[in-house]
């Protein structure tokens, strides 16, 4: 990249209402057991329960405003709004995308918008690397607002109820990125896809394939293929490729941030990343569940607030998602 690009600020929003995972399992007719509880490591999730100010896009607007305030950035200087949501939005994507609404409501009138689909939890890193590339390579673009809001489908918050993989919470996040930012420099990102598994996790109903089948309007997971396709070893391999390119190794990395999918997922990542996954991931997972694209901003904020990261420390963010995709980003704090 021609110029260094870094994170100026981040913000997260969650709905006020909370629900214990035990109650949620009961509500969704799924079996809850001590074994499942231990495997998930999620105690509660925040859920949007009809409050108008807590729709996905309204939470995204609030997160965007807060991130801009924290960065002390005038919204008029934002040149691109980049969106990275995963769940269906208020209207059908790609004809509608919340980034347009966010642009208008945060007052980023001089920006254009870009949204990304299909990467699941990796979408954030796709957005991050794309935004960093745009700011680095285009003189006219200096500041970007990355933003998302995800609200889950009622009755579809326990992913794969027969053999639960995670519990999805609602939330939104935003990140302000700027060329020449003094810290949290985005060094590089490594991305990986296996299109053979494009349909491991998806929502079939309400689409062209099944236009009027509301019963299929649920995120569905092919557990056997999920288990075999998204391996932590893949994340380690692409992370090593990224670190080698940067002239580093895992021993140079201060900590790893992962998605808040489950305790089981994190344990496997701990094993593959030499126990460098930060404690903030487990804490946030227990209290919020899997916030999809917002997991990284949430964990990043917690890490910064914990005071456990020092200037020039290397932070590695790793995620795997639908598509199937895997992504890893190296930051220098």
């Amino acid at each position: 990249m021609k110029s260094a690009v870094g994170i100026l600020s981040a913000s997260c929003q969650v709905p006020k209402a909370k629900c214990s995972v035990e109650d949620l399992f009961r509500e969704e007719g799924a079996n809850y057991s001590p074994e499942i509880a231990a495997r998930l490591g999620i105690k509660q999730v925040h859920l949007q329960k009809g409050a108008v100010n807590e729709t996905a896009s309204n939470m995204a607007v609030a997160a965007g405003r807060e991130a801009l305030e924290r960065a002390k950035v005038d919204p008029q200087t934002v040149k691109v709004v980049v969106e990275y949501s995963i769940m269906p939005q208020e209207y059908l994507v790609p004809v509608w995308n919340m980034s347009n609404k966010v642009q208008a409501e945060v007052g980023a009138a001089k920006s254009f918008v870009v949204g990304f689909s299909g990467g699941g939890s990796s979408n954030f890193m796709v957005a991050l690397t794309s935004a960093a590339a745009m700011l680095s390579e285009n003189e006219e673009l200096k500041t970007a607002l990355l933003v998302t809001g995800d609200t889950t489908i009622p009755g579809n918050r326990v992913l794969n109820p027969e053999d639960p993989v995670t519990v999805l919470g609602d939330g939104a996040s935003a990140v302000v990125l700027q060329r020449g930012a003094p810290g949290s420099v985005v060094i590089d990102t490594q991305l990986w896809s296996n299109g053979a598994n494009h349909d491991v996790c998806y929502i079939p109903g309400g689409s062209l394939a099944h236009p009027d089948n509301i019963d299929l309007y649920r995120m569905q997971l092919d557990k056997a293929r999920y288990d075999s396709s998204l391996k932590p070893e893949t994340l380690r391999r692409i992370s090593d490729e990224l670190l080698t390119r940067a002239g580093l190794s895992l021993s140079d990395v201060a900590c790893v941030l992962c998605s808040n999918i489950s305790a089981q997922d994190e344990a496997e990542l701990q094993k593959n990343f030499e126990n460098k996954v930060s404690q903030v991931c487990a804490t946030n997972r227990e209290l919020h569940g899997h916030l999809q694209g917002s997991d990284f901003p949430l964990n990043y904020l917690s890490l910064v607030e914990s005071g456990k990261v020092k200037q020039n420390d290397y932070i590695l963010a790793v995620s795997h998602g639908m598509g199937a995709t895997a992504a890893t980003t190296l930051l220098r704090y």
């Binding site: 919340m98 347009n100 609404k101 918008v113 990304f116 299909g118 590339a133 079939p204 309400g206």
Partner: protein, 339 residues
Amino acid sequence: MNANVGILEANYYLPATKKSLSQIFEDEEKPAEIFNANVDFEKDIGIDALHLAKNETATDLCVKAAKITMAKSGIDPNEIDLIIDFTSIPEDYVAPTWSAAGQVQKAIGASRAFTTAINTGGCASYQTTLKVACSLMSAHDRYHTALLVAGDKAPDLNHNYFPITVVSDGGSAVLLRKNMDTRRILGVEVATVGRLHDMWVIPGIHNRKAEDIGGRYPRWLHVCGDIQRFNKELIPINLFMFRKVMLGVLKQVGKKMQDVDYFVYPTFSLWDQNAFLKAFGLPREKVSTENMHHGHLQETDMVVGYVDALAGGKIKDGDLIMLVTNGAGFSWGASLVQH
């Protein structure tokens, strides 16, 4: 943005089945609103028939366009580093959870590629995607070749996008490559007016109304336009925004309007093309106005206009080409390609 990223190859795929416009208007819902332009929407649109995909899926259209383009380019699928889906209407499964990019990767065997999709800009998603792809390729040595793909299949009985256009089904693909000395993308400019975000939407099954269930039209999958706002808020700024992005991209690369040899412009309607020609003082032969027989192909219009102009000898070596369009959201985009 300059790693000499250029268009290595581009092509499109249109289903063979065609349906006359008179039959489309006969079969589909009649718009109840009034369009504040001095035209007869059905008679003056300038499009006679539309391509319909029938049993082909939206992804099939993507894949077929990609395969045609790959075959013409002669490159090995393993050379592709990035696949970006820039489809602008709903696909086989619900977005943003799913995109066709992964399925395209599988179908063409581009096993090294990373896949993603850009879901903003409507018909201007072509320009937005060019901006992202060129930036990624410029920023990173490892991204040498990118495949952009789109496949649009309108739901049954929703080809009438009154008061803008009527839409065909089709797919397109563009191969971008670094270090090109011709067909170089000199610059891309995109502008968004986000306050118009809810003027042109598809409700989705989660917003469907009880009275629509089991009826003839699955309205939750059909586009809904707020025609009053369209008349009051979009039409008055449309040409201003076109001018803004056109002058913006020219300024980026130090060129002037008179330096542009040929314009690729969408096939919304004859009156829309005429308004564009008049506003910018352009002669008809300098603009891709001859593709109306395909119908409007959303973001694929940019590819069709470009490919047909090349095939028809409208674009010569050394020419500077501007591709310009607008789309839902609303966004406007312009890009410059140096031949």
